[in-house]
Amino acid sequence: MDISYILFIPLIPLAVFLLLGIFNQQIKPAVSGYIGVLGLAVSAALSYYAAYQYFFVSVKVEGVYQTFVEKTVWMNFTDTLHIDMGILIDPISVMMLIVVTTVSLMVHIYSRGYMKGDDGYTKFFAFLSLFSFSMLGLVLATNLFQIYIFWELVGVSSYLLIGYYYAKTSAVAAAKKAFIVTRFADFGFLIGILIVGYYAGTFDFQTLNAVNPEGEGLLLNWASSSFMGLSVITWALLLIFMGGAGKSAMFPLHIWLPDAMEGPTPVSALIHAATMVVAGVYLVARLFPMYYFVEDGFALNIVAYVGAFSSLFAAVIALTQTDIKRVLAFSTMSQIGYMMLALGVSSYKGHEGVGYMASMFHLFTHAMFKALLFLGAGSVIHAVHSNYLKDMGGLRKYMPITNITFLIAALAIAGVPPFAGFWSKDEILVAAFEKNQLIYFMALFVAGLTAFYMFRLYFGIFWGKETKYEHTPHESPISMTFPLLFLAFMSVVSGFIPFSELVTADKVGFEGHLDYTLAAVAVGTGLTGIILAWIFYKKENDLAEMFAYGFGMFYKWTSNKFYFDEIYLFVTKKIIFDLVSAPIAKFDKKYVDGTMEDIGNKTVLISEKIKGLQSGRLQDYAMFFVSGVVIVALVFIYLWI
């Protein structure tokens, strides 16, 4: 299969970024929007073509989807250890290409309406293109170092886009927070990469993933090196997962994601819902054979529990948030936790690898319906000019299209058949049920919570109390409703894609089937959540408040996100800054700087004192000279005479 044209998929957005970035002032907003959309449209078309070629045209060898790689050596260290730049085509990267280009294209189209009249219109599209380029590069990376480079690039684009409204202090703070938290996690990632490079002598994904359970090949080299009871490579994998957890907002590195909602809503849809935040999942999936085989999947177990806990944690917080974008942010975190736990409970071969497949499946469907939810929320915010639920209500009459599409997305995420979320979530639950009952029940509970908070949001926005609006809300323009409709369509149909035959851990497809009992339980849980939300929020009533009152402290804790921001602030400000950094800074200022300054000051002082000697009066000099001669003479006389 010829894959060279795939190189253009990331390069076109890069070209668009350079074009819009360099000629920022010259290009009129009306044109720049079209340039951005056109560039992404070409990329998307190429991606679809590539996917078609890969899955349906190219030949499978013994039922296995082949991996195609094209790369050049970029930096050479040793024969095996070199950093390459290239593209790697296998089922998950092709799937990610589809996800990224589709959502990005929709967001580009949407932004033309949403950002209309904004001062930085062209700049916004330039940043969007930069992000698309980085994300596509990340997806196509052939080795750990290349993925790390693009990993940081998406971090930068995320930073730029969160801080897009740079006049707002909160947006700037949020951008910095996102960057610093993810950067902190990436530090772990980098160390992990370096450990792998040191012990394995290669960064290449294909070589690394060629491990097998018998402990042959690369694994053998690592067996002897251990640290604190775990083999070095498990530590490396855990550190790499730390990087993934940072980007994917897993507990306890999740604190940046809610704040990142300060960015424009299309950005939230693209970066903080559909693409960048799933990079962590993608990273684990990319290294899945290593996670699975090294030390019987110890690292993978950690992934599973972190995922499950984050999922539950975020779902509980999402129940109480009043900012609609923050609800969606926590929902995203919860769903990514779902994907992580699915990876965590997966095995490698055949039908055993259902978790891996389910994770990728959920990644795909989630990207569609969560982007739709965010874009729908953006449409609502555009109409109401507020982020808060209290300012909304009864919007269904004013915004029919947004209402319908939002409902579809909410049904999809709640796991109601036949919408996309049902199929992927069901697979995840099956995988969890087969491997780990504890995680299964956590996941099931989260499914119920998800349905509840989603419909709390839906009823709160479109039904509920009749709010008086200053300006009568109106439906968004076609540039915004078209992406909503398209993504709604995807949210309905993407569940029917036979993922189990296309994207699997061992790249051999298997026959997917529905476990009716488990599906019924999951749907039942979801419906319970929806019905509860219906009772609570469909009509304006006091039930919800009474209920919240009943929970007392717990409610307060939850609505304050379990005070995690405060804990972090306490640790960073009070402990690290005040107890560690401040004394060190003081020492530096007082003693290190002080010594140096003292040397200078004292020199000046002494010079000031002795400069009187240089009086410029010849007679003084003569006086010194004569006194000197007299003294020398006396010494001579004393010594020799």
Partner: protein, 105 residues
């Protein structure tokens, strides 16, 4: 071998002359006085040259010639110094040492 005068007396004279010169050079405030003090120094050494020549090598005349050179050089030097002092006077209307401190630091 100068009759009636011992070498010690001559050396005492020149020493006194010399140190008067030094004292004057260091303490005088007036540039002209300083110049006179320098002349005293030179004269003291010139006398020393002649006397030591006379006592140590009575049959040669190098010391005497040297003192003549000293007198010539001293004359030239005085002419130069007076020229400088006159120019200085034109600049600052003073020949006091304390007024010529622009070289300080």
């Amino acid at each position: 071998m100068i009759a009636g005068i011992s070498i010690y007396e001559i050396f005492t004279l020149t020493s006194i002359l010399f140190f008067i010169g030094i004292y004057g050079f260091i303490t005088r405030k007036n540039l002209i006085s300083i110049l006179i003090s320098i002349e005293l120094l030179l004269n003291a050494s010139a006398v020393n040259f002649v006397v030591i020549n006379k006592y140590l090598y009575p049959d040669v005349l190098q010391g005497v010639f040297f003192s003549i050179f000293i007198i010539a050089v001293a004359a030239a030097e005085t002419a130069l110094a007076v020229a400088i002092i006159i120019n200085l006077y034109r600049q600052i209307s003073s020949v006091e040492v304390k007024d010529t401190e622009i070289m300080k630091y």
